[in-house]
């Protein structure tokens, strides 16, 4: 179906790019626009820990050379924040006061690290790890052989954790129900996994949670994480990893259904016929579980993008969970997570 349809993709991650190239394959003539708040072309977030292995030039972690976008005739709108989507007039509003029309819209804005409300007062004392820029600033804040406290954990944080250990840093994990997010693990296995983390060289402290964070003095840039019992852990950087919450603020007035994420049917279409969603931003209706649920992991996310793209171009394919979600402990006694295998 050749057309001059304007397919707009909000989000420049695995889902967005998977979708873009699929769209191009299926419709050589359509307009494709990818919108992102980032200033960089697409790179894989899961490559960010490699920065600690010395790959600190963003050009080394790009998924495609910049020329790729021209070759595929994909317009890349960077440093562009979407503030509102009007599904009635099919227009997108940007923070820079521009409006853009779309024929079909795919939202894959992904997720932002969740920060529990009771820690919100200490945001300024913690580091994020969601972008190249954030990762670099962690890299700069960590003196060689320095120490990092990982609050919660989650498989993104633990992936960073194991890289940090491997590159000679000290890592403390304050474990809680988020530690193995998004894995769902039985409560009786938990202890073994925590042990495995220690075996991998991380210090783990469980069943106590942070109540506040204190900034270090002039001399030592270290931060002190105060625990319920009044005791504390000192580290150069504090990294909260409490899983992801979908970035949906800009969709609030769009008329698209939202619970935590954008609610989509198995074909990844929202309740609006011209809007699809894919990746960490959407909750997909699952017929067997009779519930909306999230699917994580880069292979899932990419698959979602491709499925959405096919359905945007006339197909009616349901998304199938492709990701093995079991957490294991290998013969060496280390944790193996499918989310770590790229």
């Amino acid at each position: 179906m050749a057309s001059m349809t304007h397919n707009v993709i909000i989000g420049n991650g695995s889902a967005g790019n998977g979708a873009a190239i699929t769209l191009r394959e299926r419709d050589p003539d359509c307009r494709i626009t990818i919108i992102t708040m980032s200033s960089l072309p697409f790179y894989n977030r899961y490559d960010l820990p490699r920065i600690f292995e010395g790959y600190d030039d963003w050009r080394e972690i790009l998924a495609h050379p910049p020329s790729y976008y021209d070759e595929q005739a994909i317009t890349l709108r960077r440093h562009s924040q979407v503030t509102e989507v009007d599904s009635r007039t099919q227009t997108i509003s940007f923070a820079h006061n521009e409006k853009m029309h779309y024929d079909r819209l795919l939202v894959c804005a992904g997720g932002r690290g969740y920060l529990p409300e009771q820690l919100s007062d200490y945001r300024h004392l913690m580091h994020g790890f969601g972008s190249y820029e954030a990762a670099i600033s962690v890299y700069k804040a960590l003196p060689k052989g320095g120490s990092a406290v990982i609050l919660g954990g989650d498989m993104i944080g633990l992936d960073l954790g194991r890289t940090l250990v491997a590159t000679g840093y000290r890592v403390v994990v304050l474990a809680d129900e988020f530690t193995f997010w998004p894995h769902r693990i039985a409560s009786d296995e938990r202890a073994d996994y925590l042990k495995a983390l220690e075996h991998m060289g991380m210090e783990v402290s469980d069943e106590t949670s942070p109540v506040s964070i204190e900034a270090g003095g002039k001399k030592e840039p270290a931060h002190r994480v105060v625990l319920e019992d009044g005791s504390g852990v000192v580290a150069d950087v504090v990294l909260p990893f409490y899983g992801l919450v979908p970035l949906v603020e800009f969709m609030l007035r769009s008329g698209v259904d939202i619970e935590r994420g954008l609610l989509v049917d198995p074909q990844l279409r929202t309740n609006n016929e011209n809007i699809w969603a894919a990746g960490d931003v959407c909750q997909i209706w699952s017929d067997e579980e009779k519930a909306y649920r999230f699917f994580y992991g880069w292979s899932n996310v990419r698959a979602m993008g491709e499925v959405a793209a096919r359905n945007m171009t006339g197909a009616a394919q349901a998304f199938m969970d492709t990701q093995d979600e079991r957490l294991r402990i290998d013969e060496k006694g280390d944790i193996r997570s499918p989310y770590w295998e790229h």
């Binding site: 200033s39 960089l40 072309p41 963003w58 050009r59 910049p66 020329s67 790729y68 976008y69 021209d70 317009t75 890349l76 709108r77 960077r78 440093h79 562009s80 940007f94 923070a95 820079h96 006061n97 521009e98 409006k99 853009m100 029309h101 820029e133 670099i136």
Partner: protein, 594 residues
């Protein structure tokens, strides 16, 4: 990408402070000891909607022209800047307003045009400015701060230059702009640098203090002052006006007198009057003004009165393109006027040259008793280069004039025909020097005469005396660059275009083409022998110039009858090195083929 040569382009609409921002940037960089070349494009409207572009090339080693690719583009107005995104190199930066006031049409925001390999940097220029100063006017200063913050350029030189720039205005204005700069600096330092742009410390850091940024017009002004100019008369006309403005500021300090007359006709008239009375006098204008002046120039030639005219060419004919550059007044400068009005015409090729030619023009006007035209163009008049002023005064002071001793019949021969065709000149007030200067043909005493042989002899005198100018002391009238001996391609050029020609020649040599270039500074009288010697070495000869037919090529081939390849551009902007280089390649290819 080297860290010793970056070019920054600032683009906005008239009234956005584009030019001012570029000015502060280049002065600061020069102050730091970098080599800087800068050139601004601006529209005829004072405000309104015309496009302004300020380009500043900052390098640790001497450069000869702007690069055709910039490393950074700063947009003060997207609708103007979007067209220039293409000139930014890969992994270069585009800096823009990310919260515009007015609704932006789809695709009209510059972020829609930044290439994937370029790095977008958005900031709220207007709001940062309004926060710092209460008004949006200082956006241009904000972006400078941002630039400094982003690339870690030294902030204090910026602050000094900004303070100096606004010291004539109300104190609040200066302070406001410093606040705007610091606010921008903060934003820039906080921004995450993703491009690969960096600048090594300057090699000539030590000379930084003495090095100054000068435009061609600025250099003309210094030349005038160093040559001890006494009086100046002028009438505003783009792009020559700034010469008058600068002299207005400087001359009185040394007792000189600048008067803005009511038009060009009276300006040149007054200049001749003062010259007759023995002053070092000059005027400055552009093509249209020169057209008004040529009749007076004729009088100057006929009455053998020294006068200096600085003529900065712009797009013509008629009112033409007042703010665009062109080299199309060569004919008017060399030939303009009634009768055989031979005069001296010098065409410097860079800012340094403007300085030398300006000073020398006064020497020569005096020495050969004739109007001397120094021919610039807008590109040279307005482009900035770093210049390190000479430590010793390079110009001869005003020669003491005195009448020759009375000859046999006891009367002073003002126009005596001596062995070198020049006569002793007396100025009013000197005893025994009384005479009448006139536009009529005259005899040695200056008395009107229309006798055939008298006109013959006087014409010979007026032409022959100028030949000595070809060997005037310490003045480069033409110069050869590049490979010695026979070459495949020789580039012959004049005026502002020679910067690009030189960069082209280096590029061609780098590509293995045997290549040489010659600049010709003295257009009248023309250094025919030197040019002939150069042409003899060249397989092919290319003459690039910014006019339609090749006025200079005509001049040369008229004198030498040698076929030349012409390259003529009328874009209103400088020639692109690429354009010349293509021609050179083509000629070299044809050459080796043959």
């Amino acid at each position: 990408m080297g860290n010793n040569d970056i070019q920054i382009a600032i683009c906005g609409s008239a009234g956005d402070g584009t030019i001012a921002a570029g000015d502060i940037l280049k002065r600061t960089m020069a102050r730091c000891g970098y080599k800087v070349i800068a050139f601004d494009l601006y529209p005829a409207e004072i405000r309104g909607f015309g496009k302004c572009v300020a380009r500043v090339r900052i390098s640790t080693e001497q450069a000869y022209s702007l690069k055709h690719q910039s490393d950074v583009l700063i947009s003060l107005n997207d609708s103007d800047a979007i067209a220039h995104v293409g000139e930014v190199r890969d992994f270069g930066a585009v800096i823009f307003e990310d919260s515009p006031v007015a609704r932006v049409a789809e695709g009209a925001h510059i972020s829609a045009h930044v290439r994937p390999a370029q790095i977008p940097y958005g900031l709220s220029q207007r709001q940062i400015s309004e926060r710092a100063t209460g008004a949006a006017r200082s956006r241009n200063i904000v972006v400078l701060g941002y630039l400094a913050g982003l690339y870690g350029l030294p902030a204090d030189p910026f602050r000094d230059i900004i303070a100096a720039k606004f010291k004539t205005k109300a104190a609040a204005v200066g302070e406001g702009n410093l606040r705007a700069f610091d606010a921008g600096l903060q934003a820039g330092a906080a921004a995450f640098k993703l491009d690969d742009i960096a600048l090594d410390p300057p090699i000539h850091g030590d000379k930084g203090a003495r090095a100054t940024m000068m435009t061609g017009n600025g250099a003309v002004e210094r030349g005038c002052l160093d040559a001890g100019i006494d009086t100046f008369f002028g009438y505003p006309i783009t792009p020559a006006t700034t010469i008058m403005e600068r002299l207005a500021r400087e001359m009185p300090k040394t007792g000189g007198r600048m008067l803005q007359t009511e038009d060009e006709i009276s300006a040149i008239g007054a200049t001749l009057g003062a010259g007759y009375a023995g002053a070092r006098a000059a005027t400055a204008t552009s093509g249209p003004g020169l057209a008004l002046m040529v009749e007076m120039i004729g009088l100057g030639v006929m009455a053998e009165i020294p006068a200096v005219l600085f003529v900065s060419q712009r797009g013509g004919p008629s009112t033409g393109m007042p703010t665009k550059t062109e080299q199309s007044d060569l004919n008017l400068a060399v030939f303009g006027g009634s009768g055989d009005a031979q005069r001296i015409v010098l065409a410097p090729t860079n800012v340094e040259g403007c300085y030398r030619c300006a000073g020398k023009a006064f020497e020569m006007a005096e020495c050969y008793q004739t109007p001397v035209i120094v021919l610039l163009d807008l590109y040279l008049s307005n482009r900035y280069e770093t210049v390190i002023p000479p430590e010793t005064m390079p110009f001869a002071p005003k020669a003491e004039q005195a009448p020759s001793a009375p000859s046999g019949d006891g009367r002073y021969r003002r126009f005596e025909i001596g062995e070198n065709h020049t006569s002793r000149r007396a100025v009013p007030g000197q005893a025994g020097g009384m005479h009448t200067a006139t536009g009529l043909e005259h005899d040695e005493f200056g008395r009107p005469s229309d006798q055939a042989q008298m006109h013959m002899r006087m014409s010979t005198k007026r032409h022959e005396k100028l030949k000595q100018a070809l060997s005037h002391p310490d003045l480069t009238i033409c110069k050869r660059f590049g490979d010695e001996g026979p070459v495949d391609v020789g580039i012959l050029g004049w005026g502002s275009t020679f910067g690009e020609i030189l960069e082209t020649m280096f590029a061609a040599q780098a590509e293995g083409i045997r290549c040489a270039a010659m600049k010709v500074v003295m257009l009248s009288p023309l250094p025919v022998e030197q040019i002939a010697r150069f042409l003899a070495d060249c397989g092919e000869v290319l003459v690039p110039e910014m006019n339609y037919e090749g006025q200079f090529a005509n001049l040369v081939s008229g004198a030498l009858g040698r076929p030349l390849t012409r390259l003529n551009c009328l874009t209103g902007g400088p020639m692109e090195i690429e354009t010349i280089l293509e021609q050179v390649r083509a000629l070299a290819k044809a050459r080796t083929a043959a």
